[in-house]
Symmetry: C2
Subunit: 155 residues, 2 copies
DNA sequence: TGCAGATGTTCAGCTTGCTGAACAAACCCT
DNA sequence: AGGGTTTGTTCAGCAAGCTGAACATCTGCA
């Protein structure tokens, strides 16, 4: 590994001056990235995993899924398309409202979700970086709630 | 605004069961999203803003910038291309090592960065969602440092 | 009944992440 | 000096965000 030069050495100091949004973005990328190889092995993605998580209990319409996953309808459309291609969900149109596409998890979907969750839990050990992990998560959740309500989304 | 149905109403509860990476990802998207319109007005993006931030002091090679911004060289290549197109930076090859492309900020770049920072600081008020904002940021930074070191990046 | 507006999904096209591969320039070692 | 390796950048192509627009279906009201 190459010796970083002077400018690169003060990386940690530098990041202090970043806006919070960018800190969140980088942290998300790095944390999710740690797990990408495992998911790829399973033919799954982070977006797909959360989507599966939401249809475990009962089939949902794509729009409902989009709201739950905090993405646009268009993004959810592509995510479900990919999940269907992989055989993890089935899509069918609602008899009572044929505009709606219902999404139901398949046995393969349940299985892969279970595996992914187990492996994720195991790799989560490294998050000892954060002192009070539960509080940190609560703050993230509070942040999401506030921004969601205050017009960041679905206002 | 439509009345959310039952399943959608327990959104806040649901998010508690998400993996931390996904929480970070959604939070990042929502927080950065609040500011997208302002940046678009300035012909700037979040990625571009952080890049400008790093060349304010002195010109840097693209690879150095990539390390500082925590992105791959390829991503930085495209980001600087866009910044150059907008006139916020100038790229030129290093005389002493003609493999390197040096990136220097332009007067227009300094100006737009200043404006973006001011507007961002103002809009940051809403982050009162988090109790101990400084501690929260410190934890994000610690997380980034740990994951960066432990092979999430440049190992 | 029939038409206007609301709703759910998809299509097209953009940005910004990523990886893998290509390529030129520089470095190093004999 | 020459040739293999390293280094810095770019190209190609994929995933998953986004917006705007198109399209089909449903709802509601005259």
């Amino acid at each position: 590994m190459a010796e970083p030069d002077e400018r690169v050495r003060d990386m940690r100091a530098d990041v202090h001056s970043w806006p919070t949004g960018r800190l969140l973005s980088v942290a998300a990328r790095l944390v999710e990235g740690r797990f990408d190889a495992v998911l790829a092995e399973l033919d799954l993605t982070h977006a797909g995993m959360i989507t599966l998580h939401h249809v475990v209990r009962e089939p949902l319409a794509q729009r409902e899924l989009a709201v739950l996953c905090r993405v646009t309808d268009q993004t959810m459309s592509r995510t479900t398309e990919r999940l269907e291609r992989s055989g993890f969900i089935r899509r069918y149109s609602d008899d009572r409202d044929r505009r709606r596409t219902l999404v139901a998890i398949t046995p393969a979907g349940r299985k892969v979700l279970k595996t992914a969750r187990r492996e994720e839990r195991e790799s989560d050990v490294l998050l000892g970086a954060v002192d009070d992990y539960d509080r940190f998560r609560e703050q993230l959740i509070a942040l999401i709630a506030v921004v969601t309500d205050q017009g960041g989304f679905a206002e």
